[in-house]
Amino acid sequence: MTTLPPPGEPRPLPPPPPTIDTENKRLDHGVNRCPKCGSTEIQLRPSVGMLVCLFCRHEWTEARLDETVANGDLSALQGTTVASGAADIDTGAGTLVTMKCAGCGAEVVVNTAGQMSARCHWCRHVLTVNEQVPNGAVPDAVLPFSITHADALAKITAFAAKRRMFANRAFLREFRPENVVGVYLPYMVIDSRASADVSGFGEIETRRYTRGTGNNKVTYYDADVYQVHRHVDFTVDDLTIEASAERADQNTSVNTNNVINTILPFDTENAVKWNASYLTGFTSEKRDQDVSHLVPALEHQLLSIARSEVAPSLGAYDRGVRWEQERLAVHGTRWLAMYLPVWLYSYHHVERGKGMVHYIAVNGRTGEVMGSVPVSHARLLVAALAVGTVVEAIVIAFLAAS
């Protein structure tokens, strides 16, 4: 067992968490009008990433969050900074938000679990949720879709087309890529400054030799064993972690959430200040995780990054390295909650009485696609047995000949 050197100076108690106020003060709950004509018929135009008024065609966009929130130098990041949209969720706050329509005075209810706007049932105005309610539904920023429905449909179709031969037959019969849905999923985007130490053993081969004769030759190795210690100080910009407990569960034996994780990263530096009109026509999933819930996931990723960073310094150890201990000191973090755009095609497949939703996901910004297609075990089995039989026949013929 190796031992890491003792930690450096004792760490002071963290100060109370400072907060960045990201609320879009220009917007309220309820009616938000086109700045040019006053219509509430506003939605995103993905091809240009702008909001468009469906009445007068005026286009505009909210300011990028990076331009309005002091980003600061990551190398000086200290303590825990949580933006107002990433604040802890009030467990008593429900998902239903009631807004008073400024057009007619009616009260309109929005279920923020999946929608951030609703049409007034009396006067037809569109009402949007813009104030940072304590239920986690309004994040600090939103990254608008730039991949259109048609683009996503083409990518999903191409992805599935490459996987036709051994796909489950029911999946192919029921494949309807036009049913792809645009969803804004909740993430925490975290800047971090950290230090890490790792220690273990590495081996360098010093001699290689064989003993025995004929078929009984055995190769032996001699090696020098070194105790290895590495230290790295680093900053990470915009590490992105799922802020929904359901999406964070990536147990591939029961779900396919890992394919949604795979289409990360997003260009989060282009996220804009919250405006619920960006979500009109799309669905959304509400954040249900606080900063404290996600600290273990963040620390796991920071340690993994540290291990990855020190790996190039291990080239001399041609027999490999075995790490045995690691230590992480997080000096500073800054947390922002964001809605990030994903096109999702989902298919519920039941096999031996066990259901699983298979996703094909497209990154709504980069177009990166990944998915899970249920297989036809019978077809796979036939292909495997056929190839195995041919290989075995060749081997037997070769052995008989020799």
Binding site: Y220, A384, G388
Partner: protein
Amino acid sequence: MLTTILTAPVLPAPGVIAASQSNGELFLLAGPGGAALLYFTLWRYYRNTDKSHSFERETRIQAQPITGGDGKVSEVTGTRSKRIDGENGADHRERVQRLP
């Protein structure tokens, strides 16, 4: 599980394997081994259960120069293993003992 089913009928009995170390008999495992490998490879190509976000490479990271130390502590002689026991230098996500 399915790979076990696949290989079970064509594998020689365990006693046969233990009794024979000749290359010729080991070659007989190529058929069932190839079948199992193909099955698993195709299954993973469709299901992508091994995929995840490569945050170690796809995130903006700025690291200071790596520091540390290396000291020879012992020697290994006459091992048949090609690699260090318990190698995890490239398994960045495998956690080891965490020190405070």
